[in-house]
Subunit: 230 residues, 4 copies
């Protein structure tokens, strides 16, 4: 089972890079490329293992063995498992943030309900394509999203909390603009996000969801129009 951190774990410090130190060589040069390639190899190996056995259960030893590098190399590229997870989530997290920000801008600029709808639809498409691009990281996110914010799960929870806050804000905005019924914004957004995540988790876990091309329409219909037969 998982081991305690020997030293006090980093709880914040989300610098844009997780690397221990500045490295020599020009950015984009050969050294930098090798460095990035190695980083990717380790991160991918880790991701695969995380999906199979969970963040906590996977050891550094296993990651490096899977990646085919020496154990010591891990610490040249990442400060620890938390740092690796940080790096793993950074691209997705950034992209999601950006999409949500863009959506908010569009909403604020929208002058009518049609424009609002367009903004949401666009958000949906963007998130959908992000899911496809970052399948495994999204899957890991869904697996670990509700665990306590401890150790390697800190970055996951950071993203989850950010997402939740953003979703609430957006929902609140939509409600203010009369696009949604006047329920508690938090409640509404929780329902929407919860339904979506569950579906996504089932899908990424390999569950058969029937005709996949139908799903987006079904979800939209379920969430927006309700499940009750008419």
């Amino acid at each position: 089972m998982s081991r305690k951190k020997r030293f006090l774990p980093r709880l914040e410090a989300v610098a844009p890079t997780q690397l221990p130190k500045r490295r020599p060589g020009l950015p984009g040069g050969v050294r930098d490329q090798n460095r990035q390639a190695r980083t990717r190899v380790i991160a991918q190996a880790a991701l695969r293992l995380f999906l199979e056995r969970g963040l906590e259960a996977v050891t550094i030893d296993e990651i490096t063995a899977q990646a085919g590098v020496a154990k010591g190399s891990f610490y040249r590229y990442f400060t620890d498992k938390t740092g690796l997870v940080d790096a793993l989530f950074l691209p997705l997290s950034t992209a999601v943030d950006a999409a949500l920000s863009r959506c908010q801008v569009h909403i604020d600029a929208a002058s009518d309900r049609a424009a609002l709808s367009v903004a949401y639809e666009r958000l949906g498409l963007e998130l959908g394509s992000l899911v496809l691009m970052h399948r495994d990281v999204v899957h890991l996110y869904l697996m670990e999203r509700r665990g306590p914010a401890q150790g390697a799960r800190v970055p996951v929870r950071r993203m989850a909390d950010a997402l939740e806050a953003r979703a609430e804000t957006l929902t609140g905005r939509a409600r203010e603009r009369g696009l949604l019924r006047p329920f508690n914004a938090r409640v509404s957004s929780l329902a929407v996000v919860g339904a979506g995540e569950q579906m996504l988790y089932a899908f990424l876990s390999g569950k058969d969801l029937g005709d996949l091309t139908q799903i987006p329409a079904q979800i939209t219909s379920l969430i927006l129009d309700g499940v009750r037969a008419r």
Copy 2:
């Protein structure tokens, strides 16, 4: 005992399963009562820690320290952490199963849509009261429900899988009877369960969801009627 009881945790029912061996002494006698009390104390201490730090991160040492008993005592009452989790989930799991079974019976016996609705409403009430009775176990369930089915999480996943299958069956039945729109039963049930769990998780995590008495109506409305303003 030279060690003092550190605290007396709130007691929830803990199943008398997983004990290493059959014990002598009359059931209900002094020894039997002590045994059950000790079992509860350990289980409650563990539950508290699991909620704070997650199933995997909590050690037997910490559980026994929190419970105020010797480490060795743990193994007199539970085979290992998995056994403890099993015992922790058994009462809830059994009760949920029973409620779902009853609902299914009612549905099968229902002759019209009104009767069906009554069956579902009743299920909702039953589950709601189970949630209140087993708050912490439900919370733990929601936290660990998506992690890999490994070690101590096995019982959690067992319950999750059982629940999912049941929900799907029930949804399918409702759809056949024309109560729900003719979507894929799995998709529909995932949406409903996902929304509900997310809400519950937020609530149990201490999130302010506004007027709690309104929530059931909001959920019903959201799920059954859709979120779109009319």
Copy 3:
């Protein structure tokens, strides 16, 4: 694996009784009989386990479980595992000692070679019948005889050392009287005892040694006449 003694192990103190304290009740009375019966039950259970898994590997828990008594009862009848082994070996050890003493007396009283031979033959018969009477203890003795004199093995080694010393004395006496060739007494006795023990061990371990009625003659012949064909 085996555990360290928590307190300093008894190294001598071979009082004729291993019981913790004097007990009430007349010797031979009901209490005394029950006590002896219980002692036998525990000792027999232990002996069986010792033969299967060795002195060190068997736990008090297993012994009492096998004997069908409570763990605490063990300590009413024996001080610890060493005490039990002491008790287990006492009858055999005493009888062997007595037989050896008698043999020595006979030898010292023997006036000619014929009388000496009779003494040795008689010793052989006596030891043979002791082996049959104490099969399992003899088997255990052979198994543990060469292990370090630590913990529960102390009584075994005590008997082994006593036996070796006696055998050497007897051999020396036989040589002085011209019954054996003038080799080092220790060397001679080691050879004789070693061959005998090995045979006995094989026999008690269930090895097929052919026609058992032939063995004594074979051994005598082998040891006394040599293995070389004439």
Copy 4:
């Protein structure tokens, strides 16, 4: 290394088996040499302790403390105590096997009794020198040889059984060729091996056996000519 080497134990060959994984680095290179040296240091420390206190009673903690390495290091070199014992016995076991095989070849090729005798004498010499080369392992073998084949004792029993089978075969062959009297081969070989082992055990245990140079002749005489005076 902050820890000092506590002592440099006498080195005997330790087989490079049982290592957790294949290691990189050129065989014979610095790393490989260090690895072998460390393996030897641990194995020797263990052997010393095994002789003092027996296979079962010695803990990994004690072994590593005695060897002056960290506890974790043990597991880099051996899978567990059984693995270590395996490694400890491999060289001797291999050499003994080879000697016995060679003897068998010689016997099969022998055309007369003289040649047979030469084969046996040669075996005796080879085994004698193996005993001197692997004194401590032989001593340990004799100590543990009769214990139940459990845990760390498994390799010891494996060697014991192999040896016994070989000895029986060889004895049978000698008898067929008319070199030995027509006794049960198993009985004869048990007697010979038992006498030899006992002697060896006494010798290795520090017993004074008189003029050591005389022993081989005495043994030969005892075993082949019988102990009876003429």
